[in-house]
Symmetry: C2
Subunit: 342 residues, 2 copies
DNA sequence: GACGTCACATACATCGTTGTAAACAACGTT
DNA sequence: AACGTTGTTTACAACGATGTATGTGACGTC
């Protein structure tokens, strides 16, 4: 049913290879034959069979983006949008994989078992540690996102400076006079992931200001979803001392926390100030709007796609991994500085 | 570099086809050879080359999901998550395309030009009308989402009853006593898309209650993003009469409108009640939380993947398109009924 | 007129996999 | 002993595209 080069060749009275040459814009084709072939191509509505081309070329032009999930984390949706945009500029298309907090699925991504049709993977791991990541086979180009887990590991890596960013966020809370600053989003079992990085920034800011770390102000959560932010905030409000500020490890948690605070009649920022992380669009539109850390999302996406492509094209042979750190900035909004009340 | 069937066959001292038979679990392979081949497979770490398999089989196991964009519309992210989940259950992976409000990109999706490596497309069109959709080539299975644009057209189609849903939303506003009900999200040039459907439901509810359609209460917007909801709300507040309720054609618009209302010191729902559409998670966590129409997202995704697969597998040859209409329900929250103020 | 050079076109092999048909052995049946 | 049956394995061709090598003229140069 589909039209092949063979069909077009028969139609135009030339060889298959000549048609291929026309399709690929090869130089030495006479204007005469080129026109005749082109006409046949148009008439028959030829479209290349990418499976065949891929088999021949050893590439598919597809890269995978493996993220925890899209449904409940706006950040990964926005990231996906950015990655797709930059991939397109380089002639790549993106296949998205959800790892869904499953360690096994993450291992599958790493081994390529989950996807053997892609030229490379941009991977935002959640469950895997450096030991796991070291087991990545050399065959499949992989760029890691979002943590410094793998600094020193065998893989390319793009991130922001999570520790510094968290420190700045908490320092901002200190500067506006808060002293009982809680943190939401801790993963106590984790020694090295994003949660740990952001916690370290939080801790550094506090101890830098001569304040103690108080267990009562630390909020453990599971996944960084809105509902967990709300649940965690509820728990914090029941404790003594009550926090006068909360640093949430991402915006979803902050949105959940904000909801819970307002529901409980706590004023934000007067009673409790709130800072999030990621600067998802939702953060600009909540009331009060959320102070948050804005990573250079487009920069991260661009760097990741660029690094991956340089591996795929063979410009950089395996080994000698690059680590790219992109900018971030604290966006101060109403959840910490308030707004003139009407 | 990668291991092929040939390598494994040499290693195990059998033919290539026998290895293939083992890999595919073909029945008539003696336990003895099976074990020997399996051992070679494991040792060499064989992985099928999907390009080759696809070329042979004529299928890739990839379906495309073409949506307007992921970054600013949570609905499409949540939809994508749902589609990916159901696709996975059927052994398919999903490649996401953003059409980015571009008519040309949508036409490319339809013609398959954008992606020739996929077995089929789940397509949520924004710009194309029935005339365009009728030009879809028969070769590529396509399932349309989200509007009734194509009822009677040549393509399968999954949606909810947008007119009825919008009517229920507005009827709810009437029932709580609102009379100056504005609408945000109109696309005046559109005669048939989602915006038109939701407007029709809005109009039906009003005229059904004996109320006139007032031009001053109709808010035209571009894309259904938060910022456009805010801008449109700002314009509405400047008009006379001021609305006492607003029906937003999706939740993004509603979030933007809510932000603008609160910023202007308008109380929600006391002064202005607000209804959205889609029931994205964000709607549950805003303050006040958003009354909204909840489509059966999982049902839509499941039906779309199911219809597409039945086309791909050839269970249903081209023609005889199905139209599936999934349920919806109005979720009443604080933006219309208020909450006990502390 | 022999030669090399260039532009253009073609035949063939190949990428890795799997369907088809056929080969082969072991077995029981007549 | 000839036969079919069943289970197991193999050789071969094909999926559609493209790199390589080769062929064919036309042209200019010595």
């Amino acid at each position: 049913m589909p039209v092949t080069l063979r069909d077009v060749a028969d139609h135009a009275g030339v060889s298959v290879k000549t048609v291929s040459n026309v399709v690929n814009g090869f130089r030495h084709v006479s204007p005469d034959t080129r026109a005749r072939v082109q006409e046949a191509l148009d008439r028959l509505g030829y479209q290349v069979n990418l499976s065949a081309r891929s088999l021949r070329a050893g590439r598919t032009g597809i890269i995978a983006l493996a993220v925890p999930e899209l449904r409940q984390s706006s950040y990964f949706s926005e990231l996906a949008g950015a990655v797709m945009q930059h991939a397109e500029e380089r002639g790549l298309v993106v296949l998205i994989e959800q790892t869904l907090q499953s360690r096994q699925r993450e291992l599958d991504v790493l081994s390529g078992a989950r996807n053997r049709l892609v030229d490379g993977v941009i991977f935002s791991p959640l469950e895997l540690g450096p030991d796991d990541l070291a087991t990545a086979p050399a065959g499949l180009p992989i760029v890691l996102l979002g943590e410094r887990v793998a600094a020193g590991g065998p893989l390319d890596h793009v991130s922001i400076d999570n520790v510094a960013a968290a420190r700045e966020a908490v320092t901002h809370l200190l500067r506006i006079g808060r002293r009982r600053i809680a943190a939401i989003g801790l993963h106590p079992d984790e020694r090295i992931g994003t949660a740990e990085q952001r916690f370290r920034g939080y801790a550094e800011a506090l101890t830098g200001a001569g304040l103690p770390l108080r267990r009562e102000l630390l909020g453990d959560t599971g996944p960084w979803h809105r509902e967990n932010g709300a649940a965690c905030m509820r728990a914090l409000l029941a404790r003594d001392p009550r926090p006068d500020a909360v640093f949430c490890f991402n915006d979803m948690l902050a949105v959940g926390a904000l909801r819970e605070l307002l529901r409980s009649g706590v004023r934000v920022p007067e009673d409790v100030a709130l800072v999030g992380f990621d600067d998802v669009e939702e953060a600009r539109f909540s009331t009060p709007s959320l102070t948050t850390v804005a990573p250079d999302l487009d920069g991260v996406a661009r760097a990741a796609v660029g690094l991956l492509q340089s591996r795929i094209s063979g410009d950089r042979p395996p080994g000698a991994p690059h680590t790219v750190t992109r900018q971030h900035r604290l966006v101060v909004r109403e959840s910490t500085v308030g707004l003139p009340r009407p």
